[in-house]
């Protein structure tokens, strides 16, 4: 057994199969003088036509077998083939310098590749790979070199390559290709993204795979850890086969739960929602079967730019999310800026204690124009889905009343000018300040819902800065003090017929889930990738049984005791 290789885990899963090396043909370009440039141009045009014909076939096959989105890549390749700024200069070069088409192509395309690679944006850098892919296709026709066709693979293999071009990747037949390893590339490279779509394990950026792995050698690829084992012994194969079946069984269980509601072992329904930052996160929410969005952090709309987003820009983003959720509940948190989140164009005075300063709803009430713009955008978007609006950092009932009054005023103004607004928008608050948790019974008479923000609730309750390593031991989600506050909030909501959710990291934690289920939490909002795991866990827990333990848990004296007790009962 040779020493293990490793790389970047780009797509999860485990595969064991024989290695298949996908070699790049030698496409060496020499500079040659040509006597008849017109003939050379004709030769180049023929290569363009052949490449275009191939791409059209690949594009169609990809649309049928994978998706229109993947097929669009080849639409872009076809446009590169007919790009006047690429083709024009190549032909000019052939004529003015009397050089061969290969050389003119190489030199001209190099310019574009260098330009894209120098761009300060990972997405644009990847576009250099698209130009290389098109060039390789053209060169193979000009030089008459046949490119290895990965769609010809007809036995189970793990493909080893220096790099996979987008066209290589879509031609990999998922029936036979059990995984792939590339020497270069990162998590965002096209091949990595496609591996995740096809759900085959992949390790990229392995550096020495082509140099060490020979055709036909048995290879284990662990796409969870980014490990590669070549020529494993029998014991290692057995170990990974077990890991593979455990992973596959878990994945199958999760996949079955994707379109299912979240039901505990004793038949009680709770809602599992996802946290998002931008409309781009929607894909993950739907893919992981979340039943709603429990926290849409709108501050990302305001960050990374020089001016406030306009009402229309916000309307577009909110509408996109609401439409994408197709009637499922969508809780949008109004702007939460200040504390550790600053806006460069909002010149606020430095504060000694930003976490205890002018942030979130406090800032919005201080700057009503900013707040009202967001509220109008939300109200206008409300007709596109099931919108719930949530104010962050509420400390007093008065703050909630002020925010709600502004919302009502903006709604009245919109209706007056004939703009439609939904009539069933729930308005709730984040509970992240201890005063609000303690007063939850009073709040519950006025709000439509609570969502407990544990990250801040813990730091404010324990008076411990969660960024300060020296006091990080006090950041204790399972401290009975926190759990008692959570119970107060849930009980207060239920007494008034309202619902209570949680949108901090704690909601997706496997120790917290049994406790929260027992306390009667109605909605758990977490990162999308945790949803299926949490749904599987809840399906094995009895809500009634967990509820019978809460009295004991809340009477324990420390976070450690709670953790140990929960491990014993779930």
């Amino acid at each position: 057994m040779t020493s293990p290789l490793s790389g970047i885990a780009a797509s999860t899963g485990i595969a064991i199969a024989k290695a298949f090396r996908l070699e790049n043909p030698e496409l060496t370009v020499e500079q040659l003088q040509v006597g008849n440039p017109a003939e050379e141009i004709a030769r180049f045009d023929a290569a363009v036509a052949q490449s275009a014909a191939e791409l059209e076939v690949i594009q169609e096959k990809t649309a049928q077998q994978i998706s229109d989105k993947e097929a669009a890549i080849f639409g872009a390749h076809l446009l590169v083939l007919s790009d006047p700024e690429l083709i024009g200069p190549i032909k000019e070069r052939i004529v003015t310098d009397s050089v061969n088409a290969e050389f003119a192509l190489q030199e001209t395309s190099d310019m574009f590749i260098t330009m894209f690679e120098a761009m300060d944006n990972d997405y644009m850098k990847e576009r250099a790979a698209d130009i290389r892919d098109v060039r390789k296709r053209l060169l193979s026709h000009l030089l008459g070199v046949k490119i290895q066709d990965p769609s010809m693979i007809d036995e189970e293999v793990i493909v080893i390559a220096e790099d996979l071009t987008p066209s290589d990747t879509v031609q990999l037949n998922a029936q036979f290709v059990k995984g792939f390893i590339t020497d270069i590339g990162g998590r965002t490279s096209h091949s990595a993204i496609l591996a995740r779509t096809l759900e085959i394990p992949a390790v990229v950026g392995a550096q020495n795979a082509m140099a060490t792995i020979r055709n036909g050698q048995t290879v284990i690829i662990d796409g969870l850890e980014g490990k590669i084992i070549v020529d494993p012994d029998a014991a290692t194969i057995q170990q990974f086969e077990q890991e593979k079946s455990a992973y596959d069984a878990q994945k199958a269980e999760w996949a079955k739960l994707k379109d299912e509601p979240t039901i505990s072992a004793d038949g009680q329904h709770v809602e599992l929602a996802a946290n998002i930052g931008t409309p781009k996160d929607l894909a993950g929410v739907l893919e992981h079967g979340a039943e709603g969005i429990g926290l849409y952090r709108t501050e990302f709309l305001y960050m990374g730019r020089d001016t406030f987003p306009t009402e229309d820009e916000q309307f577009d983003a909110y509408s996109k999310v609401l439409k994408g959720m197709n009637g499922k509940p969508t809780v949008v948190r109004t702007l939460d800026i200040g504390g550790d989140k600053e806006l460069t164009y909002l010149d606020l005075p430095k504060e000694l204690n930003p976490f205890l300063g002018l942030r979130a709803i406090r800032l919005c009430l201080e700057m009503p124009d900013l707040f009202r713009t967001q509220l109008r955008a939300l109200l206008r978007a409300s007709v596109h889905g099931n919108l719930k609006i949530m104010f962050p950092m509420i400390a007093t009932v008065e703050e909630f009343r002020q925010g709600k009054a502004m919302l009502a005023e903006e709604k009245a103004k919109l209706l007056e000018v004939g703009i439609a607004v939904s009539d069933s928008i729930e308005v709730g608050i984040m509970v992240e300040i201890p005063s609000t948790a303690v007063m939850a019974d009073v709040f519950a008479k006025e709000v439509d819902f609570f969502s407990i923000g544990t990250n801040d609730l813990i730091q404010y309750t324990m008076a411990a800065d969660r960024m300060n390593e020296r006091v990080s031991y006090l950041y204790q989600p399972f401290n009975p003090a926190i759990l008692r506050l959570v119970k107060m909030v849930i009980d207060a909501a239920h007494k008034e017929g309202k619902w209570a959710g949680m949108c901090g990291e704690m909601a997706g934690d496997d120790i917290a889930i049994p406790i929260l289920l027992g306390l009667g939490l109605d909605e758990f909002s977490m990162s999308a990738s945790s949803v299926l795991k949490a749904r599987a866990q809840i399906s094995r827990l009895s809500k009634q049984e967990m509820a019978s333990h809460t009295g004991h848990i809340l009477a324990l004296s420390s976070s450690q005791e709670v953790e140990a007790y929960v491990k014993g009962i779930s």
């Binding site: 989105k69 669009a72 890549i73 639409g75 872009a76 446009l79 590169v80 007919s82 790009d83 006047p84 700024e85 690429l86 574009f112 330009m115 894209f116 761009m119 300060d120 944006n121 997405y123 644009m124 576009r127 698209d130 130009i131 931008t278 409309p279 781009k280 730019r305 001016t307 987003p309 229309d312 820009e313 577009d316 983003a317």
Partner: protein, 89 residues
């Protein structure tokens, strides 16, 4: 010559897919069509040119068409920008 300014509202800026749709839809026009951004001008019929500008969301760009079918070209551009969600104005 006709000229018009647009604000890019697609939150991903001008990426490969919308850029392809835009470039693909105007190749048949005779007019010279340019895209101006940040003091640079490129041929709007060139996918590499358009992508090389790295236009982000919120940017303002100027599109100009010059030729016998400039009005039709501009109308088409308007339509594609809206349909692809690149710009809404």
């Amino acid at each position: 010559m006709v000229e018009k300014q647009y604000t890019i509202t697609d939150e991903a800026g001008i990426h490969a897919r919308p850029a392809s749709a835009l470039v693909g839809s105007i190749s048949k026009f005779q007019s010279d069509i340019t895209l101006g951004f940040n003091g640079k001008q490129v041929n709007l019929k060139s996918i590499l040119g358009v992508m090389s500008l790295g236009i982000a969301s919120g940017s303002t760009v100027t599109i100009a068409a010059d030729g016998t079918d400039e009005e039709e070209a501009m109308a088409k551009i308007d339509e594609v920008l809206k349909a692809e969600g690149i710009s809404n104005q």
